[in-house]
């Protein structure tokens, strides 16, 4: 009411708008500290605070907080061990950092009035590109040029081989795109749906608004599950790509 009519009519896309908190310019580029940057910093601080404070006691019989941190650790460690084998545990800190950052960014984005950093493809694509570059470097480090054998599957007829190699190379280069679009589109779709139904609650008023409100409560719980699942899938696919780089079983 106080904001005036033009501020009332926010569409469902308004929540993804970037606003400059601290305008900055570096070498002609706009590097302002935006609300996206702010929520990324909050995610990092929240994740660090959660892990540091919950593990401060280091007791043999874990406290409630410590067992929460241990659940995260055990779960990811089991996934890395299952997918990459014991030699993949060397890269566990990398996978764990990515998981915990994406997880906290997703979950903090569900807070009313917050900003979902992972709903912007620039953020998720940067993360996916990091995974892609790291995995490619590890692959060439571990296997040398034997890593390129990944693009030449065994037992393929010679006639089909040129076609298969091209397809394999393209699918390898598509990895950062598919990884980033999955996370970004999931977050975008969920938040748009929540805002559209929030519009229904207001539109139907006190009489009919309860039905979409009940749906929204349920769907927020569902979104919480999606936020955790998408963070896990991001980490899981990172593990699978790491496995390709570590072992030459193609």
């Amino acid at each position: 009411m106080a904001g005036g009519a033009h501020e009332e009519a926010h569409g469902p896309m308004h929540q993804f708008e970037l606003t400059r908190k601290v305008p900055l310019e570096l070498f002609g580029y706009d590097v302002s500290f935006t609300n996206s940057s702010l929520w990324m910093v909050i995610a990092v601080i929240a994740a660090s605070a959660f892990l540091i404070f919950s593990m401060r006691g280091r007791s043999l019989v874990p406290t409630r907080m410590q067992s929460m941190a241990e659940v995260f650790y055990e779960f990811l460690a089991k996934t890395v061990r299952d997918v990459c084998g014991p030699e993949g545990m060397k890269y566990f800190p990398f996978v764990f950092s990515i998981f915990i950052f994406v997880f906290f960014a997703n979950v903090l984005g569900l807070l009313p009035g917050s900003f979902t950093t992972t709903s912007h493809i620039s953020v998720t694509f940067a993360l996916a590109l990091l995974v892609f570059v790291v995995v490619t470097v590890i692959g060439f480090q571990k296997q040398g040029f034997g890593f390129l054998k990944m693009f030449v599957p065994e037992g393929v007829p010679l006639l089909l081989l040129p076609l298969i190699v091209v397809i394999e190379v393209i699918s390898y280069l598509m990895r950062p795109i598919s990884l980033s679009v999955r996370l970004f589109a999931n977050m975008l779709a969920g938040h748009i749906l929540l805002k559209v139904f929030a519009g229904f609650v207001v539109g139907l008023g006190v009489v009919g608004g309860w039905a979409p409100l009940a749906f929204m409560v349920g769907f927020t719980g569902f979104e919480l599950g999606i936020a955790a699942l998408q963070a896990f899938i991001f980490a899981l696919l990172t593990c699978i790509y790491l496995n390709d780089a570590l072992h030459s079983h193609h």
């Binding site: 996934t79 299952d82 997918v83 598919s178 679009v181 999955r182 589109a185 999931n186 975008l188 779709a189 699942l229 896990f232 899938i233 899981l236 696919l237 699978i240």
Partner: protein, 73 residues
Amino acid sequence: MDPATAKLIGAGLACTGLIGAGIGVGTIFGNYLNGALRNPSAADSQRIWMFVGAAMTELLGLLAFVVAMIILQ
């Protein structure tokens, strides 16, 4: 036809790609449950591959959603 109308219809048509993703993800989870109930001892080792399959299938539906969003822009 008014271009704005055509844009909205196009976005709606682009979203039909999500039908396939819905069927696909349902098939994956349904078949996993089917297999897990028949052989519960093997279920744990295959759960990761269910999630990978679901992620791959879901991506194709989300591409349709992204196309719809690009049209609506």
